[in-house]
C-alpha cells in the first residue's frame, strides 16, 4: 500500500490568488494523479503527474490553470491558479502502488471567496 499526505488539508482563498497543494507519498511510485471532487460528486481526473516530464492533462484542464510539478518519485504539487469560486472543490492526490491499485490522500478542501 501507499500512505499519501497532502497539505494544506483545508484553506479559504481569495478570488484571483493561487494556491499550491503538496503531496508526499511514503514510498517511490511510478504513477501519481490529481483529482478534483465536488462535494457529493464523483472523482474527476485533472492530470497524471509524470516524473521528469510535463504532466498529462485531461480534457477540460490546462497547464496554465493547474500547473503540476513532479520532481521525484515520491512528491508532487498541484497549483490552482487565478482562483474563482468555481474552483472551490476537494483536490485529491493519488498514487498507483502494488499492482493496479491507487491510493488517495485525505484531500485538500479549497473554498474560494
Amino acid at each position: 500500500s501507499a500512505v499519501i499526505s497532502q497539505k494544506p488539508s483545508r484553506d479559504i482563498c481569495q478570488r484571483g490568488t493561487s494556491l499550491t497543494i503538496q503531496c508526499q507519498v511514503d514510498s517511490q511510485v511510478t504513477m501519481m494523479f490529481w483529482y478534483r471532487q465536488q462535494p457529493g460528486q464523483s472523482l474527476t481526473l485533472i492530470a497524471t503527474a509524470n516524473q521528469g516530464s510535463e504532466a498529462t492533462y485531461e480534457s477540460g484542464f490546462v497547464i496554465d490553470k493547474f500547473p503540476i510539478s513532479r520532481p521525484n518519485l515520491t512528491f508532487s504539487t498541484l497549483t490552482v491558479s487565478n482562483m474563482s469560486p468555481e474552483d472551490s472543490s476537494i483536490y485529491l492526490c493519488s498514487a498507483e502502488a502494488s499492482g493496479n491499485t491507487i491510493y488517495f490522500g485525505e484531500g485538500s478542501w479549497l473554498t474560494v471567496v
Binding site: 497532502q6 494523479f33 457529493g40 464523483s42 493496479n100 491499485t101 490522500g105
Partner: protein, 110 residues
Amino acid sequence: QQQVKQSPQSLIVQKGGISIINCAYENTAFDYFPWYQQFPGKGPALLIAIRPDVSEKKEGRFTISFNKSAKQFSLHIMDSQPGDSATYFCAATASNQFYFGTGTSLTVIP
C-alpha cells in the same frame, strides 16, 4: 462517456440488512475492479478489489460478485452497520487508466 456505470445513486438500509451496489462496464480490457469507501471529510480508501479471473471475493462483511460475461460487478455489504454509512465508488482499471463510477451514498439506519 461514462466508462463505469454505478447504481443506485443513494441507498438506505436498516441495520443488519444487506446493502448491494451495482456497477457495469463495457471495455473488456479492464483487468482490475476495486471498490472505494469514502467518509465525509476523508479521501477515498480502498475497500476491496477483484480481478476478472474470479467470480467472487469476500473480505469480512464485504463481498464482490463479478460476472464477466455480463460485464457487471457488485458490492455486497452483509449485516450492514451504521458505521458503514459512507459513499462507495466502484472503479475499473486497465493500462494505468482508472475509471470511477459516480458513487453511491449509503445510509444505514440504526
